[in-house]
């Protein structure tokens, strides 16, 4: 059943896309640039783990600085900007509203980029704090919060004046993501201030990381998936009820997660227990989402072979399920003591940020960019390379970090083994992580190059989308798959 778009619809789409052109492209290109910086830094930090003596005269190249720089560039430079670009475009399309005063968003986007740059430079020159994903100096936190709110505030009027009364499921997720992040960020910022008890700061740091993933990255990625999959499959979402249930499950339980990482730590035992249970309950949202999307796509799985958007999104959703399941496995009392405070947990973070969130957002970008630039992706081969290098990179990274984590965590629990030995015993797996980051960096090089071509209007100008297989003039492509 194909519902043809009317001329009216098409005009409307074109004018919305036109209003989005500069803001969204700005966020996407600057995000991609930060992603490239982040992957290079990720490679160097993995290298420093393996060869700690490398350039030891240069303090500013030490692991203690390169790793936080890498994470800040990855999260605040890449993830947040890419997410906001996707959020603006999706919200405009779903509410059928053009973005008013779009240049205002671009100006604020520049301020955000400047802030991220200052944060990275501060860490580089030794003014960072050792709190995961909040490593920048404390005085920057309120600035980040304010500029973030100035960026997302644009989606609220679009949502309030939406054309249709019924709310599409992606709109739930987008509004959720827009509003939850300031709450998570500001709460964590307050709890981590200098006056707070150190145990509270540690717990709040872990709570922040967990909620950045479940309350910001997950909603945006799920909004993308609920948009891309029905669009490409040309089908309605299978079950609106289950989709909404997934949203409310996430809203209800995600905020409780985080403290499970300090199971056995200096907190009343019920706090990590509640967090652990919340991690398990979030699996309900995974079941609801994945089965719903799978049913929406049923019988049309060969679209996977031709549509880049669908392929990246589907792989992102796969990593979402893997991430949620591994998080739940890691709280089982039998394995938890062996995994705590090891590479395993940083592996999980990367799985969420790169494997789950970024892959899904790449899917959205492959869909959005041709529409806002008016030209097609230059090369199907580059998209293929981007996909496979990213996928193999992320799988290598996860497997290596998980095994390194098991080796390290197991040794950490044995009192007779010195700490440094437990660390060094696991670094052979860090070699794998180095290679993985290199693969990811290469894959992003392809992506960045293509995006730059699209940005300057040098994409393909032909009819028909760029498909992964089957050539540009594929009949299926002409039927509307991109």
């Amino acid at each position: 059943m194909t519902v043809q778009a009317t001329d009216e619809d098409i005009r409307e789409r074109a004018s919305i896309d036109r209003s989005m052109r500069f803001p969204v492209l700005f966020f996407f290109t600057s995000a991609a640039a930060w992603l490239f910086v982040a992957t290079i830094l990720g490679f160097f930090s993995a290298l420093k783990l393996r060869v700690p003596g490398l350039w030891e005269e240069c303090q500013f190249l030490g692991y203690g600085r390169v790793f936080p720089m890498h994470m800040i560039a990855l999260v605040y430079g890449w993830a947040l900007q890419a997410g906001i670009g996707v959020m603006l475009w999706l919200m405009a399309r779903l509410t059928r509203r053009e973005l008013k005063y779009g240049m205002g968003v671009v100006v604020i986007g520049h301020v955000w980029n400047a802030l991220v740059a200052v944060a990275v430079i501060c860490i580089w020159s030794g003014f960072g704090r050792s709190i995961p994903l909040l490593d920048f100096p404390g005085w920057m936190a309120p600035l980040f919060a304010m500029v973030y709110m100035a960026m997302v505030v644009w989606v609220i009027p679009m949502f309030k004046t939406r054309r249709e009364a019924s709310i599409y499921i992606s709109e739930y997720y987008l509004v959720g993501a827009a509003l939850w992040f300031p709450w998570v960020f500001i709460t964590a910022g307050i709890l981590i201030s200098k006056e707070a008890a150190p145990t509270m700061a540690a717990g709040a740091g872990s709570w922040f990381v967990s909620n950045l993933i479940y309350f910001w990255m997950a909603p945006i990625a799920l909004a993308v998936a609920y948009y891309i999959v029905p669009k490409i499959a040309d089908r309605p979402i299978y079950s609106y009820g289950w989709a909404k249930m997934g949203f409310w499950i996430l809203a209800l339980f995600a905020g409780w997660t985080g403290f499970q990482r300090y199971y056995g730590g200096p907190y009343p035992a019920w706090i990590p227990a509640v967090s652990g249970a919340a991690v398990v309950f979030v699996l309900l949202a995974v079941v609801a989402t994945i089965s719903n999307l799978a049913m929406t796509l049923r019988g049309k799985t060969k679209l996977w072979e031709i549509s880049p958007s669908l392929r990246f999104t589907a792989m992102g959703m796969f990593f979402f399920a893997v991430y949620a399941c591994l998080s739940a496995v890691s709280i089982i009392p039998m394995v938890q003591p062996a995994l705590q405070f090891s590479f395993f947990l940083s592996g999980l973070d990367v799985l969420a940020i790169y494997g789950f969130f970024s892959m899904t957002v790449f899917g959205a970008m492959y869909f959005i960019v041709p529409r806002i630039t008016g030209c097609e992706w230059p090369s199907a081969a580059s998209i293929r390379n981007h996909f496979w290098y990213s996928t193999y990179g992320i799988i290598t990274l996860i497997v290596c970090l998980l095994i390194a984590g098991l080796a390290q965590g197991g040794n950490l629990s044995r009192p007779n083994i010195p700490f440094s030995t437990s660390f060094m015993n696991s670094t052979c797996w860090v070699v794998g992580a180095c290679i993985a980051w290199l693969l990811i960096a290469v894959s992003n090089l392809w992506f960045f190059y293509q995006l730059a071509l699209m940005f300057v209007g040098k994409g393909r100008k032909s009819e028909g989308p760029t498909l992964i297989h089957g050539g540009h003039d594929n009949a299926e492509g002409a039927a509307g798959t991109a």
């Binding site: 098409i10 079950s239 289950w242 035992a269 227990a273 309900l284 079941v287 009392p333 044995r414 030995t421």
Partner: protein
């Protein structure tokens, strides 16, 4: 279809006819109203399992939501001591340390009466600290452990009247370990006595008192010379090898 740059311009103008608009805009499908199908049984069952797992985890680990319980009773970082992991970097544990550690475990049997600190309970159970029976030779201690004591007895100037059961059912090694532990931990040993009793010495004690039936009385114990030691080779405290 090959077209020039003008395609892009059409797209930007906004007034172009739909046919001239860029292909990506035209080819896009319309987003259909969301369905309301049933997902069937499988996801429901899966959700049920998740609920059971999460709820089970919560109520097993939450400790009744008590604010004063910090560590769950089942939280056990791997307790096995590892003496050598093969890389030669781990430190060797001295033989006497592990011997004492095992002895302390066996002493769990004794602590109910003699107390974990070896002080006993005045009037009820005799102490091990400051006791002449502990500080003296090992033969009397061996006899007590293997066969037990019954009846009135004077320890550290106080008299007691109790039955101490025989522990001969324990292995020689465990008896040796617990005597070593008691002597080194609670006794005040004479110069030159390291307090160590070996498995071999306990075997000798069994042999020495094999004619005894039932628990010893104080008079029978007094018949054993106070400074009599159980026969057996002394051992090196680091390695446990006989000297």
């Amino acid at each position: 279809m090959s077209t020039g740059d003008d395609r892009n311009l059409d797209y930007e103008s906004g007034t172009a006819s739909v046919v001239d608009m860029h292909d990506s805009v035209r080819r896009e499908k319309i987003l259909q109203p969301s369905g309301a199908e049933s997902l069937g049984l499988f996801p429901l069952v899966l959700c049920g399992l998740v609920l059971i797992a999460g709820g089970g985890f919560l109520f097993k680990n939450a400790n009744g939501f008590s604010d004063s319980t910090y560590i769950n009773s089942d939280y056990r970082p791997d307790p096995k001591p590892v003496t050598d992991d093969g890389d030669g970097e781990a430190e060797e544990v001295a033989w006497i340390d592990s011997w004492m550690k095992e002895g302390k475990k066996v002493y769990g049997n004794c602590a109910a009466c003699h107390q974990p600190t070896g002080t006993g309970a005045p009037g009820m159970f005799p102490p091990l600290t400051g006791s002449e029976w502990v500080d003296g030779g090992t033969a009397r201690l061996g006899a007590i452990l293997v066969h037990g004591i019954n009846g009135p007895m004077t320890v550290a100037g106080q008299s007691y009247n109790q039955l101490m059961p025989a522990w001969g059912t324990l292995s020689d090694k465990k008896i040796a370990q617990v005597i070593t532990y008691v002597r080194r931990e609670f006794g005040s040993l004479p110069e030159g006595d390291d307090g160590v009793v070996t498995t071999e010495m306990v075997a000798a004690a069994r042999d020495m008192f094999k004619s005894q039936s039932g628990p010893f009385t104080e008079a029978q114990l007094k018949a054993i010379p106070e400074d009599k030691q159980l026969p057996g080779a002394k051992v090196d405290l680091q390695t446990g090898d006989p000297l």
